[in-house]
């Protein structure tokens, strides 16, 4: 009875995916984000001391940032550090087609979450889908939306457990809901250092010598972690599959094939690698075939500077 799903009885994991601490990956985050998160973590760990001072650790955080910047990974890492399960709430399981059903689903979700022992962290991804700004209602649908945002507001406030919300559109969130969250972390696109680490992680078991990795990371400036992961995984896929289907496995054609199939979203800007394609200096400096990571483990900075590195410095950098 799919059409009656709004009323289907569900356990807490009917509202999303339940992630356990052991499934968490180590995030790769920029310094300010790490500091903010560590501060919050220390605060939660110091709950007893805070209670003596009549304070409670903050329990509600809002992560904002562009798509693919690792908001879910970040939240999952926090949950794993605390040793708690995290429920990734799916908006489509909350928003119902019948009048009043969305509010009812929100209520049920919070009721179930309150009963969980040990507690569960509610991670509400795409939070802008639920906590939409309220405005004067001109139609029944708008009235309905205002009413569920009111419900959300109350339930968020009353909930004693951890709530982490994530959004790509911080501006779409209702101001009153926003105010209920007392930790706001903006997850930015990764910097050069983080990009190198991300590429390194997802290229494993292959790897790149230090200088070449640096150049590739530079050419990925403005790319999100998710995009770089796709890039690294596509490269690995090409290396595994390519010889089997007898593709041209020379460096440039391989890179061109890869880039053709992975595109950054037009709004987030094209990293240099995508603008230049296989002609990019980072590609020219890339050893081919790609070495395995353990072969270059203790590789010092290459003595012979790769060709084209000067060119990289001269290229106009994005602001």
């Amino acid at each position: 009875m799919g059409w009656l799903d709004d009323d289907a009885p569900r356990g807490i994991d009917g509202y999303g995916d339940l992630l356990t601490p052991s499934e968490a990956a180590e995030p790769i985050l920029a310094r300010p984000v790490r500091n903010a998160l560590l501060e919050w973590l220390t605060e939660i760990f110091a709950e007893k001391e805070l209670e003596e001072a009549n304070l409670k650790p903050r329990r509600r955080a809002l992560f904002s940032g562009k798509p693919g910047t690792g908001k879910t990974t970040l939240a999952h890492h926090l949950a794993a550090r605390l040793g708690l399960n995290m429920l990734v709430v799916k908006p489509e399981r909350i928003i119902g087609s019948f009048l009043g059903s969305t509010g009812r689903n929100i209520g049920k979700l919070f009721d179930l979450a309150a009963k969980c022992n040990p507690p569960v962290i509610l991670f509400m991804d795409e939070f802008d889908a639920i906590a939409i700004k309220r405005k004067e209602a001109n139609s029944g649908a708008e009235e309905e939306r205002n009413s569920w945002v009111n419900t959300l507001l109350q339930r968020v406030e009353q909930h004693d457990g951890f709530i982490i919300a994530a959004t790509n559109f911080a501006g779409h969130i209702d101001p009153a809901v926003w105010r209920r969250f007392d930790v706001h972390i903006e997850v930015d696109l990764p910097g050069q250092f983080e990009r190198e680490r991300i590429l390194e992680r997802y290229l494993a078991p292959w790897g790149l010598p230090r200088q070449s990795l640096k150049l590739l990371a530079e050419s990925c400036e403005t790319a999100s972690p998710a995009l770089m992961r796709q890039l690294a995984e596509a490269m690995k896929r090409q290396l595994v599959i390519g010889p089997k289907v007898r593709w041209d496995m020379r460096r440039e054609p391989t890179i061109e094939r890869m880039l053709a199939a992975i595109q950054p979203h037009p709004d987030v800007g094209k990293p240099r690698l995508w603008a230049h394609g296989a002609r990019d200096a980072a590609i020219a400096a890339m050893p081919w075939p790609l070495p395995k990571a353990d072969e270059i483990k203790d590789d010092p900075a290459p003595t012979d500077a790769p060709t084209g590195s000067e060119k990289v410095v001269q290229l106009p950098r994005r602001a």
Binding site: G11, I28, H77, G83, C116
Partner: protein, 221 residues
């Protein structure tokens, strides 16, 4: 109607109809006498006239009407406190312990199995459920039913204790964190549960030894 006088054609017609009815009445009387004779004959052989009449009545009804009638009577009887345990239930209760009766019951159930693909009958007696299913050729198969598994995702998964929580004090937990960091094990391998003060101390120890915050590699310079 035209006038009904003596010797009119209508009068002759009327006489005709009346005589026919009288003839039929005579035949009915004869047949009833025959019926009485048959009953008497059966009674002489020792059959109960009353039960025979009841059988004849039931046989005259449509089977569905009869079932409805019976069910309705059961409800009324039960309401009046007249109902005793129906024989079928007594039979079924016996089937719980008597293997032969159980097999009979299952055999009887076979004829009620819906057509292929339309459903099945599960009979549970003496603890072991048996599923009766009709296959494509219309033959009834008997399958043993696996005991139902707990429904997946029905209850929130709790973090399974990956290992025993080490029996150490808070300082011990911190030292354990240091050991984990030295062994290059991730900070989220923390063996202490949420809310345990030792979890925080472990985290602290790990961070002190590692020099980082457990959120990825540190800037080199």
């Amino acid at each position: 109607m035209a006038s009904l006088g003596k010797n009119t054609p209508q009068t002759r017609e009327l006489t005709d109809v009346v005589e026919r009815i009288e003839k039929i009445n005579g035949e009915i009387k004869d047949l009833q006498e025959d019926r009485t004779a048959v009953f008497a004959e059966a009674k002489a052989k020792g059959f109960s006239t009353r039960q025979m009449r009841r059988l004849i009545r039931v046989r005259a009804m449509k089977p569905h009407d009869h079932q409805e009638d019976e069910a309705e009577y059961d409800v009324y009887a039960h309401a009046m406190g007249l109902a005793t345990e129906p024989p079928l239930l007594r039979y079924m209760a016996k089937a719980g312990t008597d293997t032969a009766v159980r097999d009979q019951v299952i055999a009887a159930m076979k004829s009620f199995v819906p057509p292929y693909g339309k459903g099945d009958i599960t009979v549970t007696m003496d603890g072991q459920p048996v599923r009766l299913v009709r296959d494509k050729d219309g033959e009834v198969e008997m399958l043993d039913v696996e005991p139902p598994r707990p429904a997946k995702n029905s209850a929130p998964r709790q973090p399974r204790p990956k290992r025993e929580v080490p029996n150490v004090d808070e300082d011990g937990a911190e030292r354990l964190g240091v050991l984990y960091a030295k062994d290059n094990r991730p900070v989220i391998d923390n063996p202490f549960p949420y809310g345990d003060p030792r979890r925080a101390r472990f985290d602290e120890g790990w961070r002190r030894e590692n020099g980082g915050d457990g959120m990825g590699p540190d800037d080199e310079d």
